[in-house]
Every structure is written in C-alpha cells, then in structure tokens.
C-alpha cells in the first residue's frame, strides 16, 4: 500500500516535472514570441496608426484583406521583394568563399590559431559597425572604394548613390561577416573529416577538385546544412546594414522586406501598423518555407536515432 502510493507519487512526479521545468521558458516564449505572431497576423487585417485615444482604446479599423491587396500593387514592396531575392542568391556566395578560406587555413603551421581567430573577426563585431565601416569605404569623393574606381576608370563610383548598384554594395558588406561565419563552420567540419578516407582516396589518385567534390564535401554535409540555414536566415534578416548604410535609399532602391516593414510601421512617415504587419506576415511566410525544411530534417534525424 505504502509502496504503491510511493510509486504513484514517483510516476506523478515524472509526469508533472517536465511541465514544471518547462513552465517559465514556455511562459516567456508564449508571451513574447507565439502570442505576438498571432497578434501581428490579426493586425494585418486592420488599418491602425499606432495611436490609442484618450481613454486608451484601440483606434484601428478592420479593412479585411485591403492591406494585402495594396501590397500587390505597391512598387516599393516589389522592389523589396526583388532585393530580398538578390540577397538570398548572392548571400549563398558565402558558402564557396567560406569553404575556400577554411581550406586555405586548414594547416598546422605556427600561429595558425591566431590567423583563424583573426579571420573570424568580422562575425564578432556588430553589424552596425560593419555598416559604418563599409559606408566609410564607399563614401563619395574620399572613400577608398571611390578613389580606387576613380584611379582605375577616371570616374569615381559612389555605390550608395547609385540605385542600380546600391543593393550589391550592401550585400558585399553583409557577406564579409557571413563568410567568416561559414568559414568557422567549415573549419570545424574539416577537423572531423576522417583522415583514413582522405589517405585512401589519395592512394587511389584523387586530388584537388575531385578529392574535394567526391571525398571531402560529402563528409562536410552537416556543416553545409547549418551554413545554408544560417545564411538564408542572415539574408532575410538583413535589417541592420540597410538601416545604417542607406535607410533604404536612394529613393527606396535598397529596401528589403525587413526594412520596409520597419519603415512603414515605425518610420518617420510611417505609423501604418496594419500595413507593416501585412509585410511582416509575407516575410514570415517566406521564412516559414525554410524553417519547415529545417524542422523536417531535424525530425528525420530524431527518428533515425
């Protein structure tokens, strides 16, 4: 009798315990992440300037899908979407370049650890600082890049003033830390590449590209997977650099969805919370495609265990 109740208590404890451990984390996550997502989706069907009236009542009005309909014909939204695509595609350059640097640094010579750390540097510093550094690099009339193009072509190029080049200029700034991140992922991955397989392949006469493609890369798959995920997320989150370097200009040419949303909701001429929410929902939907892929792979891995 006493034993049975003790067993029951033990069982109870094991059922309740996980929820007790989860409670604070779930609560915070629910309040600050899950609930706001639902609220944002709801808000995207409203027109609201962010103000409450004197009695603290919400002043928005329900407009159905009008915000989404407006998005369809909004040229700024179209520009943002295109720029996001450019970011996504060009950000992928971080993978080959990061891999190349990782291979270059994967040697055991004196001081190589310091070299690896220094190469990793750009990732550690804030994107605000990266943005300022590159803004200075691109500055018209005296920026290094401007002077360089001036000495090569006779006419300086002010990247951030040129509507056709500005996005690429910002992407290059973004690639700098992203390459460093990918590099460190690959360096760790290379550490774990099985040496016997490399030797065996070498005895079979494999070298250079063939070795890389058929022997090394397959072993780096986990690193590549994480690198793709963090690069996609990084490309879609590209807010800081746009905000620091151009605030979306000139005339909105360098906008991306994440910045356009902020501009619409909290910018000086914005305060269209509902419209901003609609942009956020679109961005969320795009991100969800990649998140689902990631979750799906994790789920497969979990089942395999």
């Amino acid at each position: 009798m006493a034993q049975a109740s003790q067993a029951a208590r033990r069982w109870n404890q094991r059922t309740i315990a996980p929820w007790l451990f989860l409670a604070p984390g779930l609560f915070m996550f629910g309040v600050y992440v899950l609930w706001p997502i639902i609220q944002s989706v709801t808000l995207s069907f409203y027109d609201w300037n962010g103000l409450y009236n004197q009695d603290g009542e919400f002043t928005g009005t329900f407009v159905g899908t009008r915000n989404y309909a407006e998005l369809m014909t909004d040229p700024a939204f179209e520009t943002s979407l295109w720029n996001n695509l450019k970011w996504l595609v060009l950000y992928m350059l971080a993978l080959p370049i990061g891999l190349f640097i990782a291979i270059f640094l994967n040697q055991t010579v004196t001081g190589i650890r310091l070299y690896k750390s220094l190469f990793f540097f750009p990732f550690v510093i804030s994107q605000v600082v990266v943005g300022l550094i590159f803004a200075w690099f691109y500055a018209p009339n005296f920026g290094l890049f401007y002077l360089l193009t001036e000495s090569l072509t006779g006419k300086g190029t002010a990247i951030l003033a040129d509507p056709d080049l500005v996005t690429y200029g910002i992407i290059v700034a973004g690639l700098w830390p992203q390459i460093a991140y990918v590099m460190i992922l690959y360096l760790t991955g290379l550490n774990n590449v099985a040496p016997d397989q490399i030797e065996a392949a070498r005895l079979d006469g494999a070298k250079g590209w063939r070795m890389l493609w058929y022997v090394v890369l397959p072993q780096l798959r986990p690193a590549t997977f994480i690198a793709v995920i963090v690069t996609v997320i990084g490309a879609l989150r590209s807010f800081d650099l746009v905000s620091i370097m151009t605030t979306g200009g000139p005339f909105g040419s360098s906008r991306v969805l994440s910045y356009y949303m902020f501009e619409m909701a909290l910018g000086e001429f914005g305060f269209r919370m509902g419209y901003g929410a609609a942009i956020a929902v679109v961005l969320f939907a795009i991100m969800m495609i990649f998140i689902s892929g990631f979750i799906w792979k994790m789920w497969r891995d979990e089942k395999e265990r």
């Binding site: 103000l51 407006e70 003033a161 000139p250 005339f251 001429f269």
Partner: protein
C-alpha cells in the same frame, strides 16, 4: 524649472516627488519639448519670465532628443500626457488632432487677438475651422551662396533680390565650366530635395498649386505638374552628383569649401556654414529666382508650434502659458536668442543679423503666401512618396514618365476621387 528626461519610471517618479516638494503651493504646468541646447536655454529664459509674472505657476519642461521625440510623442500623448507638447503645424499635427489627442485652443486665439497678430500662420494652425496650435517661430528658406565661389568662377555676385531664372541657369553653366557645383544638396535623408522641388513648383505655378498638389488635388501628369519637372530638369545637370548618398551637412562642407556655389536651404544651416569658417562677408542669401513672370512670390517657412494636449491636467494655466508664447515679447526674446523669425507680426527681429533681416524682408513681402514645406503640407505617406520621386528625378531625369505614373498611382490610392 527644468529637469532631465529619465527613462526609468521609478526615477521619473522620484524626480517628480523631489520637484513637487519645492513647488508645493504652486500649480504645475508640464511641457514636453525637443530642443537643442540653444533653443532650450531660450525656452528656460521664457519660463523664468513667465514664472516671475505668475508666481503661483510652475512650468516644468522635460526635454527630449530631437529624433527620439518624434517617436516619444506618440507614446506619451496616450500614456502619460503632459499639459503642453511641441510639434509642427499643418498636416503634421493632423493625426494627433484626429485621434483627439491635441485639444482645441480656438479660445486662446480668440481671447488674445491672435487671428490678427499671427495672421500669416492661421491656415497652418487650423483644422476644420478650429485652432490646435500656437506657432511661435519659423525660418525662411532660400538660396545661400558662397561669394568666393562666385569670384572663383568669375560670375557676378547677385544682390539680395536675387537674379532671374535665365541668369541663374546661365551662371550654372559658368560654374560647371569652372568645375564648381552650381547647386548643392545632400539628399540621403530625402527632405532637402523637397526644398528644391517646392521652390521650382512655387515659382512655376504659384502657392495655390503647391498647396493643392500637397493635398492630392492635382494630377502628377497634368501639364502644370509636368512644367514643374521640366524646369527642375533644367537645374538637374548642375546639382552635385552623388547627392543621394550624402547628408545635408556633407553638402554644407562642399559649399563652405567653395566646391559648390549655391545651396537651397533653410536658415538653420547658417550656423553650420559659419562653424565651417564662413562669415557675413562671403556668405550671401537671396530668394529663389523668379521663373514664370507675374506669379506672386511665395516662400517656404516651416513653423514650429506648441499644443495643448487633451489629457492636460492643468489646461487653464497651460492656456495662459500658450497665450504668453504667442505674445510679441516672448517671441522677440526666444527668436532673437535662437536666430529665427517670430510669427507674431508685432515682434522684433535683431537688426545686426543680415540673414534674419533678409529672411524677415523676404517673408513679409511674400505676397504669394507662406508654404510650410512639402513634408508638412502633405500627408505623411504622400510626402514620402513625393520626396522619393523628386530625389529619383534628380538622379535619373530620364525616368520621368515612370516617376509620374507611380506618383499618380499613389495619389489616386490615397485620395480616391
């Protein structure tokens, strides 16, 4: 009584407690403002005068950072309204008036004869026939020029009455030949291009057109609007290249160094020019050239205002302070200290500042009318779309048709016919 803004609520409460200890028997008026150091000192001086005349009232000013204020006002008007708040006239105050957050102060205007003494500011302070603002300062826009640059290019220096459009463009050609930018600007924050556009628009079609355009009543593809862009297009080749990537202060550096000859700017820039080393000897001011003959000259003069909030706890004394801010004495004092122009026509302007006297002269003889500025006359979203269009035109004049089509689409969406 002035205290520093503190973010933490507890600290704010603690400060309030400590100040109310002094001011136990006084009636408190709270005022949220966004002043730079010089205007702040001037406002403190006004408060001191007001408190001396009304010993039973204690005006407490909380000062915010200028940029942060634009955001903060949206929060404090709802959450914790002061009695008075700084803001801007015309369309910029409309959202707060429509949300019922700014109070109607038509009685202050009526009881103090302000309709007459602030006559030029009535339209920009009025929404639906009621007054919601006390305008206490404004400043002129126009063309500031560098006499040294004129000398370097061998161009005759214009007088304060300016030159006509043909002469101005001909001068630009000479500057170009001399390797000097005729007109400079730094438009990475967009608004500086609106100054240029507004002036070309005011000189091409007059004040009413500007006002109607900002209100969405005029089609961007109309012949009148096209005429504005055509004139702007004549100026376009002479504007500093890469202006879209630099700030107005960067362009000010070009102007100060004589790499640019003219700058379409507001009077607040004089301080920056002088800091850069210019003096009254080589810095000049003229009104924007006349383009179409026979159009009454209108000028741009953005007005800064104070408002009574709907959540005010002490509206009676706040109104007394507003009436004081509208008075010629207060306006003369504040504007002399800050170097801007009073809106009260009975106020005085310091005679030893050539730019203020020139501005006062320009504005008081502007028979066409006083415009606020594109981004204050137009609704926020429309203003931004417009400024992006103006900036784009100055970078890619060949894209005119696309720009006009996009602006027109924005207009028909925001102002359904």
């Amino acid at each position: 009584m002035v205290h520093k803004l503190t973010g933490a609520l507890t600290l704010g409460a603690a400060l309030l407690l400590s100040t109310s200890a002094f001011a136990q028997d006084k009636r408190v008026v709270t005022w949220n403002a966004d002043y730079d150091p010089i205007p702040l000192a001037a406002a403190e001086a006004l408060i001191a005068d007001f408190e001396a005349a009304n010993p039973e009232i204690d005006v407490q000013l909380t000062n915010f950072d200028h940029e942060a204020y634009k955001n903060a006002i949206r929060n404090f008007l709802t959450a914790d309204a002061p009695d008075l708040a700084n803001w801007y006239a015309a369309n910029r105050m409309r959202p707060f008036v429509e949300a019922g957050l700014f109070a109607d102060i038509s009685d202050v205007w009526a009881n103090n004869g302000l309709m007459e003494s602030l006559a030029s500011s009535v339209p920009s302070s009025t929404i639906d026939g009621k007054q919601y603002a006390i305008p206490y300062t404004y400043y002129q826009w126009g063309i500031y020029y560098n006499r040294d640059a004129y000398a370097a290019a061998g161009v005759e220096v214009p007088g304060p009455e300016g030159v006509n459009w043909e002469t101005f463009l001909a001068n630009c050609e000479k500057f170009k030949a001399a390797g000097i930018d005729c007109v400079t600007t730094g438009s990475s924050a967009l608004w500086p291009v609106a100054g240029i556009f507004d002036y070309v628009s005011l000189r091409t079609n007059g004040y009413q057109f500007h006002s109607d355009l900002a209100a969405g009543k005029i089609s961007w593809t109309s012949p009148e609007a096209r005429a504005v862009f055509e004139n702007l297009g004549k100026l376009q080749p002479y504007v500093t290249e890469n202006h879209a990537a630099i700030d107005w202060q960067d362009a000010a550096a070009l102007f100060v160094q004589g790499k640019a000859a003219n700058y379409v700017m507001g009077n607040f820039a004089v301080g920056v020019f002088k800091e850069g080393g210019m003096t009254n000897d080589n810095l000049g001011f003229m009104v924007f050239p006349e383009i179409a003959a026979g159009i009454a000259r209108a000028e741009e003069a953005p007005t800064d205002t104070i408002h009574l909030t709907s959540g005010a706890k002490n509206p009676e004394d706040a109104k007394a302070f507003l009436a004081y801010m509208a008075s010629p004495e207060a306006q003369s004092k504040w504007n002399t200290a800050v170097g801007q122009l009073p809106t009260n026509k009975n106020a005085t302007v310091p005679a030893d500042d050539p730019f203020l006297t020139a501005g006062f002269e320009a504005l008081s003889t502007a028979t066409g009318g006083i415009a606020q500025f594109w981004d204050r006359d137009a609704d926020a979203e429309y203003a931004k779309a417009g400024m992006e269009g103006f900036q784009r035109f100055l970078v890619q004049p060949e894209a005119l048709e696309e720009i006009l089509t996009q602006l027109e689409a924005t207009r028909t969406r925001l102002f359904p016919q």
